[in-house]
Subunit: 337 residues, 2 copies
Amino acid sequence: MRVTMRDVAKAAGVSVSTVSKVVNDHYSISRETAQRVHAVMRELNYYPNARAQSFARGTTKTVLLLAGMAPNTAFNNPHMFEIVAGLEETLRKRGYRLVLQGTDATSACGVAQEVISRQSVDAIAVHVGIMSHPLSALLTKTQFPHIVLGMPNFDSQVCWIDNNNTYSGSMAAAYLTAQGYRNIAFIGGQYYDLGSTHRLEGVKQGLAGAGIRLAEQHIWLGESTRADGYRMTGELLEQRPLPDAILCANNYIALGCVDALRDHGLRIPQDMGIMTFDDYPFSRIVEPQLTVVDINVRAMGSQAAKLLLDIIRHPNMQVQTYVTTSSVIERQSTRQK
Amino acid sequence: MRVTMRDVAKAAGVSVSTVSKVVNDHYSISRETAQRVHAVMRELNYYPNARAQSFARGTTKTVLLLAGMAPNTAFNNPHMFEIVAGLEETLRKRGYRLVLQGTDATSACGVAQEVISRQSVDAIAVHVGIMSHPLSALLTKTQFPHIVLGMPNFDSQVCWIDNNNTYSGSMAAAYLTAQGYRNIAFIGGQYYDLGSTHRLEGVKQGLAGAGIRLAEQHIWLGESTRADGYRMTGELLEQRPLPDAILCANNYIALGCVDALRDHGLRIPQDMGIMTFDDYPFSRIVEPQLTVVDINVRAMGSQAAKLLLDIIRHPNMQVQTYVTTSSVIERQSTRQK
DNA sequence: CTGAAAGCGCTAACAT
DNA sequence: ATGTTAGCGCTTTCAG
């Protein structure tokens, strides 16, 4: 039979409540009894039953992550799992566990509803990819401790955290201008792609800071695919004067951009500098390896965990925050000073 | 205040045990009472408290995954997270939850020890990347429900599941011979890389089945890196007669192989066929896109979940099994018939 | 500083 | 078919 607190209490000649206090480092316990009880616990190989603890305490020390996990998600969106890893690590260090639950945008709200009602976890993290209006309403109405990983693309009172894409954009601009580029182009996603839009915004700001204007005919927006990156680059290359560097909003677009430059016989970086965002998945595969603004999404996950634990303590607190975890990684696709 | 079973019982004019039986679909409950109680539950918006359930039942309906999750794991090893997704999906469909815990090979055993003693989960899945002798001993000694994802590279009595790399190897060989290739080479990882070794074994078998022998000078083994793939391909190309196709044990090696062929002025697939294993991460990026034996690791995760649930029911059952979830994806790196 | 005792909300014999 | 009741193992007042 499993050894319980009663067994320890009996063997140590104290009451169960004393054992409980020892387990929980209660201040009122004397050094001697604490030591004695600890010795007995070790001797009997006692470990408190986690289920009983969470029942008695009314908390699970557990956080649920709701995210889309359709087939190939790990391949198509490794960033998400890197955020998860950061989240888990920091939660673990603070005594919490992360439970994973795959779902989609339509059923996420129902799942959250049940989890909240059943009190099976202490808080919920929601990947922005499955956010919806009903879920947003549920979270704000119940005030259940939560955080959304990524800024919702609609107006919402939920707590969220996202990386500061605007800042990353201005970092890219600052880097390129520092390398002497003066005539920069941007190809990216459309208005509903908030990440791309913010990066573009930051690029404009960064360039403005250097007294440079991003010409309208040097901004191309389309789909975030290799194919559309190729197409946009083609169109861009028909403009005169040619830019001296192209900033791609993400890896997929960059991949098409590189293809297009090769097909046009333009050398990187001699004829054209290339820079993009995120160090994955392709930036190190293409020839030449790409200079990027790397975004440490794991750090963002870690930050999300910290915020979430704060929110658990203060459930009515609202946080909506950008974190900056980016840095430039200089490679061969831009000319070095 | 939260609504409990007592409230439901009172409002429905029945006892708590009846409510409990309704909640659990006990056979002894009449249709009428079941309906009435359900109605009350809905009206009061009652959901059973998960913590109390798991305390009273003595089970958590939860599985723990122990895996290495150091920074960049999601980028370097997306396969692992795809397995996780498959595991989670199937567990969820059967009423179980997956909790994630990052750890490393040295601390994994202690973590497992504590989890088992505290009974905080019903079973453990362990990624083979963090397996160790002590952990193996712990799992076999305690007979705690577990499954190792991947075959341990040492002799062990633990339960494990792995994909059938030997079979995948023979599939590759069968495909290449069917396309008319007759003089095939293999470049892969060294003996301790079990995946590569098994693939090679399968390739030999498959070729033998077609009456072809894999010549010793056409087998090169090294590190699983782009650089070593490049090196091995270079050495291979000094052999005469040249092979008509090269099988690469994985994407990293294939990447270097493609580089080397390009540098030697050999066209793919006109001068040399290329084939590799796994559809990620690079097989679709390189020019031309690579024909591969795709291994559906998500299906393996799903299979692992099913086995684990069996093992929970029969804790003394031992399973050590290979699953075959692979298929050939024909692309442009091999000549088509 | 320590102990007694009342729960936490549900499950599962057992009785009716 | 339904109800009674004794736990599950720990936490947490409240007395002492």
